[in-house]
């Protein structure tokens, strides 16, 4: 009686709902990669599946004036963050390093300026700009003037080329 189409929708919906626990978790005390990573030596962004963390990252992006150089992802003095070009690597560890230790050509080091879990939140938001996170975790429009399509409406743009490895 319940055809294939219904079953597919049912499974998709149940899967999306079950993702709710992680998506909606509010980790007020903050997360570091140490309590997120399952493989030793590889850092994963602990907020990759957490909509609240990505949303906090979005707020911090404006509050800490990342917009000053990167605009809302389109770039300016700094490179664009919403495209598929990742100069210093697109994996979680590289993005963390970029924010924490800075990079040549003008990216300041924020490691002593903001806490580790805030860096992970910002990194998660930056990854969301190119639509790389799960669809229900991506943020939507901000309560500002419109600057682009909202993150959850953008086509995912996977990073071009191999990311710079951890041994760099």
């Amino acid at each position: 009686m319940i055809g294939r189409r219904y079953r597919f929708i049912l499974v998709a919906v149940v899967a999306a709902l079950l993702g709710g626990c992680e998506r909606e978790a509010r980790s007020f005390k903050g997360r570091t990669s140490a309590n997120a990573s399952k493989e030793p030596g590889v850092s994963r962004n602990p907020y990759a599946g957490n909509a609240w963390g990505v949303g906090q990252g979005k707020r911090l992006y404006t509050l800490y004036n990342c917009v000053g150089c990167h605009a809302n992802g389109g770039g300016g003095m700094g490179p664009a963050l919403m495209d598929d070009r990742w100069i210093y690597g697109s994996d979680d560890a590289s993005v963390f390093e970029t924010i924490a230790r800075g990079r040549p050509n003008g990216m300041p080091a924020f490691g002593s300026r903001i806490t580790e879990s805030q860096i992970w939140m910002l990194a998660a938001y930056v990854e969301s700009m190119s639509g790389r996170l799960p669809m229900d975790v991506l943020p939507s429009r901000a309560d500002h003037m419109r600057y682009s399509t909202p993150e959850n409406s953008r086509r995912a743009r996977p990073p071009q080329g191999a990311p710079k490895g951890a041994d760099e």
Partner: protein, 647 residues
């Protein structure tokens, strides 16, 4: 050729006061058997999903709504436990926000409106002398849409995805920036589910009351409960679209990036408040007005006399329905709107006390004039008067802008609305359930348990909510998960929590009484109370065809005014589901119409609709994709049957 309709005075099929309280006497056995077969309620698994019978759907609505009531009650107890002492660490802010939001959302959308609809679905066709409710398949569809929406909310509550922004979910807090994730989307889509279900039922009620009344039931002979349901149905039709607009705009802002509530792009956070409260104020009257109808039924029966001032009562109901749409800004007095507008809304908000007051005066006059019997339903009505009048008066105080500015968004308001909703709607509802339980199940509820549960509910209620007036005056705001000891709010909060315990026990006792009496209550008979409306003129529970022959009504108290030789309508077909359609104003027979057989399509349409609604929380593509199964289901639903074409 169809047999002609006749008005046969000799063949009654229902008893009346003039004839004495004997069982229905007339009607051939063959006729009964044929009607039983034609109007049968299907059995088995497939049958359960295909039922289109209003009594079955009404019972399901009632049981489901009471189930949600229990869930929301448990959430309320959790809230009271957290607030019992200052600086309590029992529940953190995130969980507490989900709990109070879901408590309010369930109570307002999944309990209060559906339970009143349930009583209407069950009783209105019986009270107007019809065999079924208008649009029976739509009725089934509405139940399943309601059920699926409610289940969605319960599931997300267990998955940490329940909405946490209050039952009215204001942006920008509920907007995409400040509530990331899907919590607020589940809330917004729940609105859509319940709105579709409520609109469907409203349309059915209006059609039933206007076009399916028994002959002779002119407008001035319609029972007050039916008038109340009619007014409620119109309020639903005009109010619900506003809230679905508000919630759909919120969903669109969150899902596809529209700017309805974004001030930086020309939107306005206050737009949401206006749209929401344009619905939100009539919503409380949607909950409250059916209860007024129940009170009228109970008072009539247990004073033994017609209500004093029938015309005034009807006009008060209608006036309440109209006036209820002119008050919404009193929820927004603190937002800085212009003074002249605020004064208008003060006047309107105070004015609506007058029709409610007229009703109270009429009931008191009826009690004065008649001989009250202190049965459990009557006790609940007396409790209703004591509690609701107090709540209504605090409402008058809240209507005043300057005083409102002090107590808005404090526990004073929490006290007020629990007095008017619990006292004004739930007490009559519980009384009404005691009253109509014999009709629905054929058994009586235990009277001793009923009295005990009444006193526990009444005392527990007052101990829980009366201190909240004082707490609001002492400055305690709403929606706080804890409070400091230095505020001085501790003792009254503790008192309120203890009262909540009593209230919970009373509620559980009532539910226990219900569950037990279904199986082992005393057998009730057709008319255990000596009621005046038509449902008491048929067996308990009613047969699947409600009435053997539609009765002709001769006065506003149908059974009491029924003369010994009052006619009934014979000649309706018994081999198909034929019903009598009558005129709007004076209920003269107009037409005969064939109602549909049980069908699986409403259930399938509800599944398809629910799938589209839930899918559209996650992606906008769900709408164009999800339309297709809905279209298929609706096509199956409306596919004409071959035998209808025959003469």
């Amino acid at each position: 050729m169809m047999p002609p309709l006749t008005f046969d005075p000799r063949r009654s099929g229902i008893h009346s006061r003039a004839r004495g309280n004997g069982p229905a006497a007339d009607g051939t056995a063959a006729e009964r058997a044929a009607l039983e077969k034609t109007w049968h309620v299907p059995e088995g698994i497939l049958g359960w999903f295909s039922v289109v019978d209003h009594r079955t759907i009404g019972r399901r609505y009632l049981v489901t709504a009471l189930g949600f009531f229990l869930v929301a009650g448990i959430l309320a107890v959790l809230m009271r436990l957290q607030l019992a002492v200052p600086d309590n660490q029992l529940i953190g802010p995130d969980r507490y926000n989900q709990i109070f939001t879901v408590h309010g959302t369930i109570m307002m959308f999944l309990f209060a409106v559906p339970v009143m609809e349930a009583m209407g679905i069950y009783l209105v066709p019986l009270m107007v002398g019809a065999r079924n409710i208008a649009f029976p398949r739509l009725n089934t569809f509405s139940y399943f849409v309601y059920l699926f929406g409610g289940l969605m909310l319960l599931i997300v509550l267990l998955l940490n995805s329940a909405p946490d922004v209050g039952w009215f979910s204001y942006p920008p807090l509920a907007g995409p920036d400040y509530t990331p994730g899907k919590r607020a989307d589940f809330w917004a889509q729940l609105i859509t589910f319940t709105e579709v279900a409520a609109l469907a039922v409203a349309v059915e009620i209006v059609a039933t009351v206007f076009k399916m009344r028994a002959p002779g039931m002119t407008l001035d002979r319609i029972p007050l409960f039916v008038w109340a349901m009619l007014v409620t149905a119109f309020m639903i039709i005009f109010a619900m679209p506003a809230v679905v607009t508000a919630s759909s705009f919120l969903l669109m802002d969150r899902l596809v990036g529209t700017h309805f509530y974004n001030p930086a792009e020309g939107g306005d956070a206050l737009l949401y408040q206006h749209l929401f409260w344009f619905f939100g104020h009539p919503e409380v009257y949607i909950i409250f007005v059916p209860a007024l109808g129940m009170v009228s039924s109970i008072v009539t029966t247990f004073t033994g006399r017609p209500i004093v001032g029938y015309t005034a009562m009807v006009l008060s109901l209608v006036a309440t329905g109209f006036l209820g749409f002119g008050l919404w800004v009193h929820h927004m007095f603190a937002t800085g709107l212009p003074q002249l507008g605020l004064t208008y809304f003060t006047a309107a908000s105070m004015t609506i006390a007058i029709p409610s007051g007229i009703q109270i005066f009429c009931w008191i006059a009826s009690i004065w004039r008649g001989t009250p019997r202190f049965t459990p339903p009557m006790l609940f009505v007396l409790g209703f008067i004591a509690i609701f009048v107090l709540g209504g008066l605090t409402g008058v105080t809240l209507a005043s802008v300057p005083f409102n500015l002090q107590v808005h968004d404090t526990y004073y308001v929490v006290a007020h609305f629990h007095y008017v909703l619990l006292g004004g709607a739930v007490f009559p509802l519980v009384g009404g359930i005691h009253y109509w339980f014999p009709k629905i199940t054929g058994r009586l509820m235990d009277e001793g348990l009923a009295r005990l549960s009444f006193w526990l509910l009444f005392i527990g209620f007052n101990i829980t909510f009366f201190p909240m007036h004082q707490l609001g005056l002492m400055g305690m705001p709403r929606r706080v998960y804890t409070y400091p000891a230095a505020s001085g709010w501790g003792p009254l909060n503790l008192l309120s929590t203890l009262g909540a315990g009593l209230l919970a026990i009373g509620g559980l006792l009532f539910v226990w009484n219900l569950a037990r009496s279904v199986r082992s209550g005393a057998v009730a008979g057709d008319d255990p109370w000596g009621g005046d409306t038509l449902e008491w003129g048929t067996s308990s529970p009613p047969p699947v065809y409600n009435f053997l022959h539609p009765p002709v009504v001769e006065g506003p108290n149908a059974l009491w005014d029924r003369s010994a030789d009052a006619p009934v309508v014979t000649g309706l077909r018994t081999d198909c589901r034929e019903v009598l359609i009558t005129d709007v104003v004076d209920a003269t027979p107009n037409n005969r119409y064939e109602f549909p057989e049980p069908s699986i399509w409403p259930f399938l349409a509800a599944v398809a609709t629910s799938a589209m609604f839930v899918g559209s929380i996650f992606t906008a593509w769900a709408v164009p994709i999800g339309i297709v199964p809905i279209a298929i289901a609706v096509t199956g639903w409306f596919w004409p049957k071959r035998k209808e074409a025959a003469a």
